[in-house]
Symmetry: C2
Subunit: 218 residues, 2 copies
Amino acid sequence: MDGNKKISIAVIKRLPRYYRYITELLENGIAKVSSQELSRRMNLTASQIRQDLNCFGGFGQQGYGYNVEVLHKEIASILGIPDPFNVIIIGAGNMGQAIAKYENFNKRGFVFTGIFDKNPNVIGQDINGVKVAHIDTLEDFVKENKTDIAVLCIPKENAMEIARRVAALGIHGLWNFSSTDLHNIEEEFGTVVENVHLTDNLMVLGYRISELRKNGKN
Amino acid sequence: MDGNKKISIAVIKRLPRYYRYITELLENGIAKVSSQELSRRMNLTASQIRQDLNCFGGFGQQGYGYNVEVLHKEIASILGIPDPFNVIIIGAGNMGQAIAKYENFNKRGFVFTGIFDKNPNVIGQDINGVKVAHIDTLEDFVKENKTDIAVLCIPKENAMEIARRVAALGIHGLWNFSSTDLHNIEEEFGTVVENVHLTDNLMVLGYRISELRKNGKN
DNA sequence: TAGATTGTTAATCGATTAACAATC
DNA sequence: TAGATTGTTAATCGATTAACAATC
């Protein structure tokens, strides 16, 4: 009765990208798109696009293709954009501040509601309309303000402790920028964790450059 | 004669994570580790660890396991850590500055050498020991200073133009933070591109939270 | 109706896991 | 030598691609 056919993470990771392309088509006033046309633009196979979209429903029409407006609305709804997530940031250092000021998140249904730190020098400072609060006021804040996601922009040494504190408050999503893995948080608290291991990603780039030079050059 | 068995990207993406764990073992003075012990710590199968490491060589020893110091050195070498990459940043906005100030990159062999912008208000400003230069001086800078990687921290509207400009200068790696795909750059210039689509990643988190609430709660 | 394009099943490909012989 | 654990081959699993009947 619940139709849970468990969609694979590979498909889910492609959704935001579909959303970007469909939004662009919509903004350019393009009314319909076929899987073939979209495959050309996105550099995917048409087959994969049809498979992916069909995980969520038959949004297309045989002989016609996909109505861009319909598809845009459907993907937005799948991604939960219609009702926004409230986001707090833990750590008002360089990365925390950069995220707080990043305007794109708003457009995608993420609302920045609070930022916390333990450093007295930044507490009270205004960042994108929100005052940095002391980390010890976190619990009170979350009790009074619906909070969906906490962004961890803190050194890895404190990451685990803060993650447990945040998860214990019933916050359902953790966006982890501290370069460490948050073991057992998902299992223990049922909190969802997404990691942004920037250094890891940069190292992959480094590896690929080395390969390129080894193979391409000589 | 070149032993190019083409290592899959899935394996390469795990390398930095292996490196983190091995570094930790090394710092804790642990001399040896078996694939089983590592699998427990990293939450991977021992089989996968052995397969992965064997793509690059037989670093272990039957009946013993892996010598941590050896393994650390080998992975570092695979990732090109021994000889550093010079990195410039294009765009001195919030994200560009956060990256410029991020200390972890240094430890992993990435050296911040320049930062460029077109906004007169930030040009000349000192960021982590480097002065923001005008984007028009980019070409001269690269001619005089070996540059391996350019980080794009600019709005998506300018991303493609700047990417082509950077690639045309012979810079081999592009780390793209502008939320757009840099079509054809790899093919046309032979430049390696790694994308950090932060908003995409955040949207995946949003999706997973929605699923959690739908399935877990009722 | 004829043409186009989806939705969906089947075939292929690649990545992960299991098993075990080699060997320290 | 006996025990442990790798390196490596084979089996399994899952994701992508191809094919085509359904249908607009």
